[in-house]
Amino acid sequence: MAILTGVSMQNRRPLTGWGRTNATVAEVIEVPNHEVAAAVKEAGPRGALVRGLGRSYGDAAQNAGGLVLRLLGSAHQAVLDPSLATVTVPAGVNLDELLRVLVPRGFFVPVTPGTRFVTIGGAIASDIHGKNHHVEGSFGNHVRALTLLLADGSTVVIGPQQQPELFWATIGGMGLTGVILDATVGLLPIETSRMSVDTTRIPDLDALFSAMSDGDDDFRYSVAWIDPQAKGRHLGRSVLGRGDHARLDQLGPKELLSPLAYGPKQLASVPPLVPPMGVINHATVAAFNEVWYRKAPLHREGELKGIAGFFHPLDMVSRWNRVYGSSGMVQYQFVVPFGEEEAMRTVIERLSVSGAASFLAVLKRFGAGNDSPLSFPAPGWTLALDVPGSARGLADLLHGLDRLVLDAGGRHYFAKDGRTTAAAIRQGYPRLEEWKAVRDSVDPEHVWQSDLSRRLGLTD
């Protein structure tokens, strides 16, 4: 239940992103969709913001000193239209809940990131991407319509054909154009809940670039996991995993008994009492990366895997972000255009010699971007990796990487960022002013604010 009478001090609590850095305090309340307008009226000069499951790594879902809303909603309110292959769903519902409803009925979400613990609203606001970006684009490409609550309390239904400017400013708009209340999203029909996966060990970065450039388009899903500590001639050694949803004729007799069975479980949780320095250091990470590379097959085709095992391996350990200890972690993700492979190589080289311990880094080949001024994906190569916040020299290392990325015509991902600068965003997103103009037209008083928007000058 919403506690609208309690919009005073008793709901004040510290919030962080998934990286667990830089907590700030906000008034946090949970509201059903029909009470959002009333709750937003209570917002003071620090404004309001909706927070989903807090899986963005930095400060995107925080609003220091202001109001933070969490939307209540259930996957049972989802309306599936099997003939059109669409679902209309409240924005507070997350992909985990939604997949449990959709998969047994033969449908899959159009885009899933590396975790299924993201809300529909968050997926749209961050315009998330997944392993299928090179063929199917980002989440926003599949949104047919959405209901947006504006700063003045009114609601509008928008889509690619209805108020397209506001629609595309909301896709990837980091929650700063209004509150997404619900959305109608296109779905992918599937015959089975299994994935057919090809896995290949790749010895170095050149081989990886050419393997992905030549072969990715034959697969709906493709991503490479790079060992960020491999150096010299092993630089960029990686395991390339590609696949698609398995068809019925690919299943064995046992799987055919329940072709659409789906019920992923969490196997473990990281306890709250991890040593303050965490358990991630150069030795543990180097050992992990070595074992992980060696255990991958040289080449294997058509292996059947579950949805969770293919898309969401880290979700099996809940709260895995705690392993980084009290100083938390920083995630670094950027994209550089095709033709800037040397910039990518230099980034990976600098990371490999920096000693900043990192688990696997993820490299992916993006396809075309969409019409959103603030959407992250653009044609090119994207790399994402975690670094412990306590790593020595981290600020200088990442600042140097920022320069490389920007000089190569690349940019950074808002949903992962916790530390880049307003100047870097202005350079990486040349349509920022265009986005601000649309935002100002629907929110002249800047009701929608976040720590990220203040840090990066989005609401200046």
Binding site: T21, A23, A64, G65
Partner: protein
Amino acid sequence: MDNALGEPQTILLLGGTSDIGLAIVREVLSPGARTVVLACRNVEKGELAAAGLRHGGLAVHVVHFNGSDTASHEQVIADVVAQHGDIDLAILAFAQLGDGAVTSKDVQAASEIAHVNFTGTVSATIAVANRMRGQGHGAIVMLSSVAGERVRAANPVYGGTKAGIDGFAQGLGDALAADGVHMMVVRPGFVHSAMTQGLKAAPFSTTPEQVAAVTAKGLRAGRRTVWAPGILRYVFSALRHVPGPVWRRLPLG
């Protein structure tokens, strides 16, 4: 806003010409920093300091601020916020040392030092803290001194004010924690600076740059108290318990 690495974007130095304060500002500046405000009594001197800080995309402003004019403090802070937005880091660095031999006998001189060092610091800190409570984030660095840890006969007024603001900052820091505001008390030993020019250095003396390095490290680690140099924590945990007759004879400068 601070970023994920604890780097502040907007920094307010109260005591804008303080050697230690300016060294701390230089130490915490990062490529993400946008604005530094130097608040000081002597604006001309402040402008010289500002010229030394300006570079690239960093804006450095000087505003007039008088530590002893407590009635003006709220307005000064309000103006800074109105013009530059959230204050991510405020450094409380204004204080007068005074001549101990004079202030321990002269009623007027003693009360002036006590007023600016203690009342002025308390007043300005509360004005800053009120803003940061509303922001839901922010950090305050309180420049205390080992002189307040056990007050010496050589300068009891200065030492007494430092003892006072040290305790005040600890208590206020605890009160602010729930609002996302972090208070850190810095206790330097004898620092070679404009304030101590001509004085004989005490053992374990240090420099503004060393105090700044310790301060920046402590902020990143979320510490509540740091000493500069760090060894003074252990020296004073012993000195605190030295019997009075012995304490009075110690050659502490």
